[in-house]
């Protein structure tokens, strides 16, 4: 494979590496995806003759807990990257491990939420609010799973790159972090829209 310029070093006139530009473009597309779904929510809710009291159906305490968990995981993700820039790969392992644990905890809480709903016979087909709730949080949870897979790779087999190309590995962690923060930001929008409003 020919070597591609600006994979690791910054192109002077743009100030970017290829992966960093690529991830931002990917996220721009993701904004349009979730934006379309939020628009669908707005249109369906504003057009509905009645809308259920959301906070009476879904669990605000569990969602608050999940908000705290996900924001904490974003913090540990930044700390993991910062540890690499300080050449402290031991601390990187700890913080990346914590990020993984917190991400998994988020999914566990989500699973508890889902099973509570299903146990009460509240399924996507019940009404459009529950339909949107399952669709939006489900798609978000899929994004969390995707982030966990990438992070697990960067903690496990992918970490070998630290020995051969430390700078490139640090960039990879940064790019994975940008994605992880985006997943966090989506949740920051989902939480008020689906639980509080």
């Amino acid at each position: 494979m020919t070597s591609i310029p600006y994979t690791t070093d910054v192109r002077p006139d743009t100030g970017l590496t290829n992966p960093k530009l690529g991830i931002w473009l990917f996220l721009a597309s993701e904004v349009m995806l979730f934006g379309s779904l939020f628009s669908a929510y707005a249109l369906l809710r504003s057009g509905a003759p009645s809308w259920p009291d959301q906070s009476a159906i879904v669990s605000v305490p569990l969602a608050t807990l999940n908000t705290v968990i996900l924001i904490s995981s974003s913090v540990t993700m930044v700390l993991a990257w910062a540890a690499l820039t300080a050449k402290r790969v031991d601390r990187y392992r700890i913080f990346m491990g914590l990020t993984l644990l917190l991400g998994a905890a988020f999914l566990v809480v989500k699973a508890i939420e889902y099973s509570d709903k299903l146990a009460l016979g509240l399924v996507p087909a019940t009404n459009n609010f529950l339909g949107l709730y399952f669709t939006l949080t489900g798609l978000h949870a899929l994004h969390v799973v995707g982030g966990l897979v990438v992070n697990a790779y960067l903690l496990g087999p992918g970490a070998r790159m630290w020995k051969s190309e430390p700078e490139r590995f640090t960039n990879r962690v940064e790019v994975a972090g940008i994605y992880w923060h985006f997943v966090d930001v989506v949740w920051i929008f989902l939480f008020p829209v689906l639980y509080l409003l």
Binding site: L21, L25, L33, A40, L43, P124, G131, T135
Partner: protein, 572 residues
Amino acid sequence: MLGALSAPMRFLKYLISTDHKVIGLLYAVTSLCFLLVGFTLVIVMRWQLAYPGEPLPFIGELFGVANTPGGIVLPEFYNQLGAMHGTIMVFLGVVPLAVGAFGNYLVPLQIGAPDMAFPRLNLASYWLYLAGGLVMLVSFFVPGGAANNGWTSYAPLSDLAPGHGQTMWLGGMGLIIFSSLLGALNFITTIIQLRAPGLTWFRLPFFVWAQFITAFLLLLAFPALQAAAVLQGMDRLAGTSFFLPSGLAVSGQALDVAGEGNALLWQHLFWFLGHPEVYVLILPAMGIVAEVITNNTRKPLWGYRLMVYSVFVLGFLSFIVWAHHMFLTGMGTTISAFFQATTMIISIPSVIILSSLMLSLYGGSIRFTTPMLFALAFLPMFGIGGLTGLPLGLAATDVPLHDTNYVVGHFHYLVAPGTIFALFAGIYYWFPRVTGRMMNDTLGRIHFVGSLICMNLIFMPMFIQGLAGVNRRLWDGGEQYAHAQGVLSLNVTMSMAALGLAFFQLFFVANLFASLRGGRVADSNPWKATTLEWSSAGPVRAYRDPYVYSLPGAPTDFVPQNQRPDERPDAS
């Protein structure tokens, strides 16, 4: 080493290569096959429209008793053909050829990059596209057949369609959208980051600009359809009613769903993709035509900067015109006034680009090569397609014309003798770059003249039928409608022309295969072009604008972009 590999192994090697040229060729071969499939579907439809209820000759039995008993096309099968013809042509044929094939092969070469910015994502993009295409094809063979709700898949019809065809359509679209997302971010990153030294933004060939804006449209518009597909998938599989209004009854039975959904939500999400998608079809075509015209007039492109600004405006405006597809939905006059205004405004940059291309011809010493013929035909054909679109952009005239054959004629003029002619021009033009051999000129000219005549004979009568009020998507071509009687015989003309078009494509296919081995051997720059894709290997650097042709005082009538100014002091 390569010689030691057996033929299947070599084939496998191409399928997993991350080289942008190989991936571009994979896209080209695959999308040309899909174009052939889409064309075959419409030949069957055209037979049915010309001779409704009469058995299909020769191939009638091939589609199975469920679809064509005794060779007669059933209405359900006709609907599948219609929906899948549109889907395959747009999403699996034209766009992958224009962007996946031409873009992948040429953009890195024209900007002097070693490859795309993310070669492995590039390969993943191709595989997702192929998977999406196969899902679409396989859906013909599941019980109930393929999707049959039109290529727009309007809800609630598509929500409630029985069988798995529509669900597979949604899944296939999901794969295609993911593929185009990976492709789009790859193109944008490549063009921003990997331009060769000296290749500043305004030294980029217009083709690269067109691909750049196209990639942004793919990146930002397609997710709306992804969201819509997720929602419709939930409607179909999990029983939600996002697109199902309350009180809906099917065959006299009230539907057992929660209701309170909104069928127009689908249309909004679909057309939020759908309209930028129109420009995804057109912009790469304009890029190819610009390259061919400037090369064959031996003149710089007229209004290059103006064209670049126009393509930006076009890209931006294409996101705020979508509801002109929805004037019939009972939207208020304020909203329709907004979308009529934006629609009229977006025609300005389109006309600027088309005018610039035409003015580029003025005063040139035109070489009427085969690619140039296709590029020249593109101009009036695209003009007809564009101008007939104006009445559809105004609510007052759109209401009677909506869903008639007039609309079908309008967008086919844009895509068939428009975009597909540009793609043919591109194939004839860059074939020597890919294979080192020229395509046969005589066969090319027969292909051109035949296609031009047949395409006009197919699509021009559609305007006449549409103005007479003949609706599209009619299984019998309007046989049972009183107002269609006067224009019914045109169906036979159109269908014969479609068969003629198929006949003339044989010259293209034969030319393609024959020229691979037997074509005249070309040197590295047979068209005497200036852009970087024709320069021989070596460190690439650009020293000047893309189209320096007929420079006064220069020894040749073209100065390549990478020619050092001091090599020929009189050329700079």
